[in-house]
Amino acid sequence: MKTDQLIDMLSTNVEPVKSGQVWKPLVWALAIGGAASFCVMLATVGLRTDAAGGIHVGFLTLKLLFMLSVIGTGTALLMKLIRPGHEAQKLFRFLFLPFLVAGFVGVVTLALQPSSTWDRMILGTEWVTCLFCIPLFAIVPFALLIWALRKGAPTNLERTGAIAGLVAGALGATAYAFHCSDDSLAFVAIWYGAMVVLCAWIGARLGPRLLRW
């Protein structure tokens, strides 16, 4: 085929392009993915049963704050990565901030307590549940995010996959926070942080295969 022939074909009857085709699917993926994670949480482990308000609500807020800041930065990055010509290096650095803050706060709370309580603070009562639930809850949001990203044109597939995994992991962790009865910041920093990073790693591995166009 001659290139001129192709150009003729592509430029015959050009339809106007509607705006919002890039960010709308992403927003839908986040909304539906978040709701789906929450439903999976309700259907499997269920809401926290010992919640008695006060201090528990405070810890839930902190967990949500940690995860929502990851989701916020990650989504802003995806909005850039989905368009060719954006590397978004600056924003990328902000991604580490929530993890550093959580890690720092976790270490401080450990330092303030006698070392005999560290086991309980780090392992909590349900670290194994946390380990399984966050990646499990992240599956639906991840699939939806990949679907949305495929509608765009990401050029750095590994990084885009990683951020999609990260955001999906954070959505999973957000849902898990409504079940989690471990009120320790060290627990949140370690297990939430590690599971979200694991999801990002899996996303980076899958990105080049799933996002190719």
Partner: protein, 190 residues
């Protein structure tokens, strides 16, 4: 060639094309095709590959530019967007052909906008063969609207489809063609 002199023109053409101006879109693709050809030839030269491969890549990039044009943000510069697509398609090509990208230097955006006017080379793509892989309805819509140049309403009348149906079919068809091209290349080169 000076990038700054082409950026405003290309961007204006792109934005007009996004608003449905077919002649602006055509002018854009024509200008880009010679720039892309020069870019891919320069890149391929390092791997001693010929003009047919370059033409394949030019066409693949043009299809990508067309089918992914909704990802261009009109408030941003146009050249980095095109360059992002061209580079992506080239890296993808290297991956498919398993050539080493270790010695692929980071190029300047200027290289994308270099000129090359030789257009007589044909790519290895066979349009008829590609079209045969589409579903009958989609093929018919592409034939009417994209090859015979009928308007959407004329095509709708000829094919016995609704107008929105024709539009959707054309849109899907182009995406399917792009997908098929990538697939065929992969099979061909593996």
């Amino acid at each position: 060639m000076d990038v700054r002199s082409t950026e405003p023109e290309l961007r204006a053409l792109m934005i007009a094309g996004l608003n449905g101006d077919a002649s602006a879109h055509k002018a854009l693709l024509e200008t880009l095709s010679s720039q892309l050809r020069a870019y891919f030839k320069a890149q391929l030269g390092r791997f001693s590959r010929g003009p047919v491969e370059a033409e394949d890549l030019v066409q693949e990039a043009l299809i990508a530019i067309h089918t992914r044009r909704h990802t261009y943000d009109p408030s941003q510069l146009f050249t980095p967007w095109v360059y992002g697509i061209a580079r992506y398609k080239f890296v993808d090509y290297l991956r498919r052909t398993k050539a080493s990208i270790n010695d692929l230097p980071i190029e300047n955006a200027e290289e994308v906008t270099a000129q090359d006017d030789r257009t007589h080379v044909e790519s290895s793509l066979d349009l008829e063969k590609l079209m045969a892989g589409l579903s009958p309805k989609v093929r018919q819509a592409i034939q009417c609207v994209k090859l015979d140049g009928l308007s959407v309403s004329e095509a709708a009348a000829r094919c016995g489809m609704s107008e929105s149906n024709v539009k959707v079919s054309v849109h899907r068809g182009l995406k399917a063609l792009a997908l098929q091209i990538t697939k065929e290349r992969a099979d061909h080169e593996d």
